[in-house]
């Protein structure tokens, strides 16, 4: 079974509507494919921030009467749809950029501009990892004061290794976006980063 086939059958597997043979092939693929495992994990547990997003985003106050007045009667229907779509897109990009940028900035790895540029080009799956990593980064930043300087040095050293590998894999994937193995390596690096952040956060005496 290929990665694409597995992802196409994910819903059917969750609903238990696959045949026994299909389910066996599905599970066999998962035992050897980190990328698909990560894909399913991400699908099962969307980050709280993403899950909490509203289905639609409206402006804080109704701006439309004023806009309609200026545009005249001809632009009514299309104008409203365009504004809503633009807001949704902006909200999505903002979420990805902010959540990824927070971890990066907290850990002082990249400049803010580079972080935001990087975030905007993330795939949806990566964006979920970035969002979750950002949440862990915030938790780690809160726990930082309770950690010994040597421990902080260990954490930063390991995160630097992971971030360097992640950046290298992402650059390669950008040049060859359909390469499944590169995608797998990028996802693996994200998993490593999240796992390391989780363990680092758990080191604080409070936890």
């Amino acid at each position: 079974m290929s990665c694409a086939e597995l992802r196409a059958q994910a819903d059917a597997y969750a609903r238990a509507t696959l045949s026994a043979a299909e389910a066996t092939a599905f599970e066999a693929h998962l035992t050897t494919c980190a990328s698909c495992t990560a894909f399913l994990e991400a699908a099962e547990a969307p980050p709280e921030r993403t899950a909490a997003l509203p289905k639609s985003v409206d402006p804080g106050r109704d701006l439309w009467p004023g806009i309609r007045e200026r545009l005249g009667k001809s632009g009514v229907g299309r104008g409203r749809i365009a504004v809503r779509g633009w807001l949704l897109a902006a909200a999505a990009v903002l979420l990805i950029a902010v959540s990824s940028g927070v971890t990066v900035l907290l850990l002082r790895r990249f400049s803010g501009t580079a972080a935001i540029q990087q975030a905007i080009t993330l795939s949806p799956l990566e964006a979920q990892y970035a969002s979750a990593a950002a949440e862990l980064g915030v938790a780690l930043a809160r726990a930082r004061g309770q950690l010994a300087p040597e421990t902080i040095a260990i954490i930063e050293r390991n995160l630097a290794v992971i971030d360097s590998a992640l950046a290298e894999s992402r650059r390669a994937l950008a040049g060859d976006p359909h390469n499944a193995m590169l995608e797998q390596l990028v996802i693996a690096a994200w998993r490593q980063k999240m796992d390391f952040l989780r363990r680092a956060t758990a080191l604080s005496p409070a936890s």
Partner: protein, 287 residues
């Protein structure tokens, strides 16, 4: 005058008030109890035995508080600094626990050593090394920087470290090992399923794979070296984006023998050996 000299000599020879405290405590506990041990001031050794009790010996350095309590199926004990600053000297805990119990140990920089248990262990250390010997139901060990060593046929092993080295020996069940920059060395393994992942560390695997088993290895920049039986029935799927895979198995048929990506079945297939690397070199040798 003579007695005064004797008293003075006795006072001078007496141990300082802040001497190490010797520990000798016991409590009764169920054979399948859950035991939590925290040691933020030294090394820890856990020994399984055939009694329904916990016995602790060792030393607590000055400024460190020893605590212990529990009954039935739950107990906790440990060494804890009384002040926020770390103690000036290290203590040691020798903890005997029912062999089949579940033990959780959290440590700062001190090593953790587990022997003669058959139950489950969950071990965490920041900078200390962790060593587990024996056949346990479950081994979970995590360190940020310390070395991890698991020896024995435990059916389920989960180990993670950052910069530390991972050594696995004689493990034959389901193994997952992960490091950031530390090497992963596996010897005398015959796993049903092994997943070894590292970012920049090397992977050195010497052993075999269960006939229906899977060996999956992934690195970013670390080299991978496999020493496998010449007649191991397995499908090999080796790929390195900018490194090279080289196979020296005499039983291998077909081509290629080297390249960025090498796929072949050896000795009729059976097990699965999958290696992925971004820029590490992959070498497969027969033994």
């Amino acid at each position: 005058m003579r007695s005064l000299r004797f008293i003075s000599a006795t006072i001078l020879a007496a141990p300082p008030l802040l001497a190490q405290q010797k520990l000798d405590k016991r409590i009764a506990i169920a054979a399948d109890a859950s035991i939590r041990i925290s040691n933020f001031a030294g090394t820890t050794r856990v020994l399984g035995w055939d009694r329904d009790s916990i016995a602790v010996s060792g030393t607590a350095p000055p400024g460190v508080h020893f605590f212990m309590g529990g009954a039935g199926r739950l107990a906790k004990l440990g060494l804890e600094p009384e002040e926020k600053s770390p103690p000036t000297s290290a203590g040691h805990l020798d903890v005997r626990v029912p062999r089949g119990s579940r033990v959780w140990v959290k440590s700062a920089d001190g090593s953790i050593d587990v022997q003669a248990m058959t139950g489950e262990v969950d071990l965490q250390s920041v900078g200390g090394s962790i060593r587990v010997t024996g056949s346990l139901r479950l081994v979970t060990a995590e360190s940020m920087e310390g070395d991890l060593e698991v020896i024995g046929p435990s059916p389920l092993v989960r180990v993670k470290t950052g910069g530390g080295k991972i050594l696995l020996r004689q493990t034959n069940g389901d193994v997952t090992a992960s490091s950031v920059s530390g090497a992963i060395v596996a010897t005398e393994l015959e796993p049903q399923s092994a997943r070894l992942e590292t970012v920049s560390g090397m992977v050195n695997y010497a052993g075999t794979v269960d006939r229906h088993g899977t060996l999956a290895i992934q690195t970013h920049s670390g080299d991978v070296e496999l020493l496998l039986p010449t007649l191991l029935g397995a499908e090999f799927d080796l790929e390195s984006t900018s490194g090279e895979a080289v196979v020296s198995l005499p039983a291998k048929t077909g081509k290629p023998r080297k390249g960025h990506s090498v796929y072949f079945a050896n000795a009729g297939g059976g097990a699965q050996v999958i290696v992925r690397s971004f820029k590490g070199q992959i070498r497969v040798y027969g033994q």
